[in-house]
């Protein structure tokens, strides 16, 4: 491995959050079709379909931390990840990078801030341009952003390849000539080529076979140490999250239901949803167990249940849960949970 580069921007040694999410909402609405618009004009009340993908989330990520973001499909974890990465603006609320609102930045500054956060996607094929050689996929951004000069290009790309565990001799090839695990390494090399300090990994190992998944997870951990990276690791796989994360955030239908250090969550989950989720995870050490299954389905984010989103499936649901949204509040130092049961105790 060649010498490690310093993070591009010297950050104050105190560890204020690298990214802070404050009261963020993201709503997607389907615009009305012609008939509906006409009906509305004629005085009929037509409601637009609004999906509350992210429904009021606060979260801060400190420098050097690995935060695992867990949830089932449709819980808004990917949407949140995209907003954090600056790919998608929030409908409401603000996202702060080093204490500065992303939306208040402009021009050069905005670009530089965006470069500091990079994203790694689930499908390593869909996220690589099939018509570019992989050396261009990896090297294009640093060249455009002036991080490397034309004459140093080849050496720079080789270095990125080696760091991601790829043979630089393969750099003239196209993405389809690589296996899934190698493609994911290309995605990683591309993200790291612009010298980011923060990586958002959206289901980055979900599509890989177990033995390849282990290789990529090891690479993530090695890079974290070498480059002092911060990660937001989005996954539905609790085993992976448990292994990698310092802190775990659990989402359900657009809201954070629990947030705690990884060890605490996996030892004693507080929120009934987290408990249910953990009890359903198949583990290699449990033999011939009786699966029970959380009752009910994940509700549609188009029409989420009132009050606490989990109440129709919750074994402890009370009258209050149907009416009042539980606040995410601190239940122990560093642990937050959104459940009315914590008030009763």
């Amino acid at each position: 491995m060649s010498e490690v580069m310093d993070p591009p921007h010297a950050v104050a040694a105190t560890t204020p959050p690298i990214v802070e999410i404050r009261g963020v909402y993201k709503r997607f609405s389907r615009s009305l079709d012609f008939a509906a618009k006409l009906a509305r004009r004629l005085g009929v009340t037509v409601r637009e379909d609004v999906v509350h993908a992210v429904d009021g989330v606060d979260l801060s990520i400190r420098r050097g931390e690995v935060v695992g973001l867990v949830g089932e499909s449709g819980c808004g974890k990917s949407t949140l990840g995209r907003m954090v990465a600056g790919i998608m603006p929030p409908t409401e609320g603000s996202i702060l990078s080093h204490g500065r609102d992303l939306r208040s930045l402009s021009g050069v500054e905005a670009r530089r801030t965006k470069l500091r956060t990079q994203m790694i996607f689930q499908d390593p094929y869909a996220s690589l341009n099939p018509r570019l050689k992989v050396e261009d996929i990896v090297g294009e951004a640093p060249l455009v952003h002036g991080l490397v000069r034309r004459e140093d290009f080849a050496g720079y790309v080789d270095e990125q390849f080696r760091r991601a565990g790829l043979d630089p001799g393969l750099k003239k090839r196209y993405p389809h000539q690589f296996s899934g695990g190698q493609r994911q390494r290309i995605g990683i090399a591309r993200a790291l080529a612009v010298q980011p300090e923060f990586l958002v990994c959206d289901e980055a190992v979900a599509a890989l076979d177990v033995s390849i998944q282990a290789q990529i997870l090891n690479l993530f951990m090695k890079l974290r140490q070498e480059l002092d990276l911060t990660y937001l690791f989005i996954s539905h796989d609790l085993g992976v999250v448990e292994h990698l994360s310092d802190r775990v955030v659990i989402m359900y239908l657009g809201r954070v239901v629990e947030e705690a250090p990884a060890e605490d969550v996996f030892r004693s989950a507080n929120h009934p949803y987290t408990q249910a989720l953990l009890s359903e995870v198949p583990r290699i050490d449990t033999r011939k167990r009786a699966f029970a299954g959380v009752k009910g389905e994940i509700p549609s984010p188009l029409a989420p249940p009132s009050g606490c989103h989990f109440h129709p499936r919750c074994p402890h649901a009370m009258e209050r849960c149907r009416i009042e949204r539980p606040a995410l509040r601190e239940i122990a130092p560093g642990r937050r949970s959104a459940c009315h049961l914590n008030d009763a105790a």
């Binding site: 177990v210 033995s211 992976v240 448990e242 198949p282 033999r287």
Partner: protein, 335 residues
């Protein structure tokens, strides 16, 4: 509707012996399934485990006779209650499929027709194998939906597949598989696309099924953790061959084959939190032009010159087979 020859009820539901399914492509012969043997007893779950391209799905397709050209079963036997399925005519095979042997696919939309209502599809399936009135067929369809935990089955029968969620669709596919109370179900990664809580529900249904009706179940998956909780026996495939088989607890506690050991070691929960995961170096070989001898030897920590010879699939411990000349026997005996 009985098979030409019905074996004694005590025998295994399914016995696969030295099955070979090869694909004759322009680039060469792909030996997707190459000498696969295992047995599934009545009411038991066999976990067929492997990574992508290991041949586990093709094994499932070969059993139920759904291999398409250029693929062909080139050798071995599939004995269903003692009858060799290769000896049956296409008509006899059709009589068996969906009736006494059923398959559940990873993508339920492979089973469901998107333009037909659920009741149409289910009634058709019932009437394909049983002479019953439409009303009775409908009744059976409704019962099957209820059995897999679909709420208000009467209403849901009138719905189209797209009106169901992914988990519900998979339940409908399972309900269709159950219609004739088959003796054998082949489930190909049925929960891979589902969320954890929904997966838990489906696994619970599968367990109930085997216990209630004595159905033998082949559960094809890449997820060792699912197999650990669900299966009685396990067969691990690598590059078209079963490299290890045995009782699930014994195999997962003390694997004989270095590949099985590597696979188990890569599971995050088997490692200390935050420590580097033990990993298998390299990647799965292409099935085209596999070298002779053990296909795993390029990645194996125990490889030696003798591994260039094809290793036999031998019984090293009672009920435990491995395709390796230097298995971890001492470790397995100690465990």
């Amino acid at each position: 509707m009985s098979l030409p020859a019905v074996a004694a009820p005590g025998g295994p539901t399914l016995e696969v012996r030295n099955l070979r399914t090869h694909f004759f492509t322009r680039a060469g012969v792909v030996k997707a399934v190459d000498d696969v043997s295992f047995t599934v007893e009545r009411g038991k779950v066999m976990g067929l485990v492997g990574e992508s391209g290991s041949g586990k799905t093709v094994t499932g397709f070969s059993i139920i006779g759904l291999v398409d050209p250029p693929g062909r079963i080139t050798g071995g036997q599939v004995l269903f209650q003692g009858t060799d399925l290769a000896s049956l005519s296409e008509a006899e095979m059709r009589n068996l499929r969906g009736n006494r042997i059923a398959m559940i696919f990873q993508d339920p939309m492979m089973t469901l027709n998107p333009v037909l209502r659920i009741d149409t599809q289910m009634i058709e399936t019932v009437q394909a194998h049983a002479r019953v009135s439409r009303e009775e067929a409908r009744q059976r369809a409704r019962d099957a939906l209820g059995q897999v935990g679909i709420p208000s089955p009467d209403e849901r029968l009138r719905a189209y597949p797209h009106q169901f969620s992914g988990g519900m669709r998979q339940r409908v596919a399972i309900a269709i598989a159950l219609l004739h109370k088959p003796e054998l179900i082949i489930a190909d990664e049925p929960t891979t696309a589902l969320d954890v809580t929904i997966q838990g529900q489906i696994l619970a249904e599968a367990q109930k099924l085997c216990a209630q009706f004595g159905t033998a179940l082949i559960w094809i998956t890449h997820d060792l953790s699912v197999v650990a909780g669900l299966a009685d026996d396990i067969a691990v495939m690598y590059a078209g061959k079963v490299v290890e088989s045995g009782e699930v607890g014994a195999v997962l506690d003390a694997p004989l084959h270095p590949y099985t050991a590597g696979l188990i070691g890569s599971v995050p929960s088997r490692n200390r939190r935050g420590a580097p995961l033990s990993q298998i170096p390299g990647m799965t070989p292409s099935l085209l032009n596999l070298p002779a001898g053990c296909a795993f030897r390029a990645r194996c920590p125990r490889a030696e010159s003798r591994c260039a010879e094809p290793p036999p699939f031998a019984e090293y411990l009672p009920g435990r087979h491995a395709r390796c000349i230097h298995p971890y026997i001492e470790e397995a005996v100690r465990a």
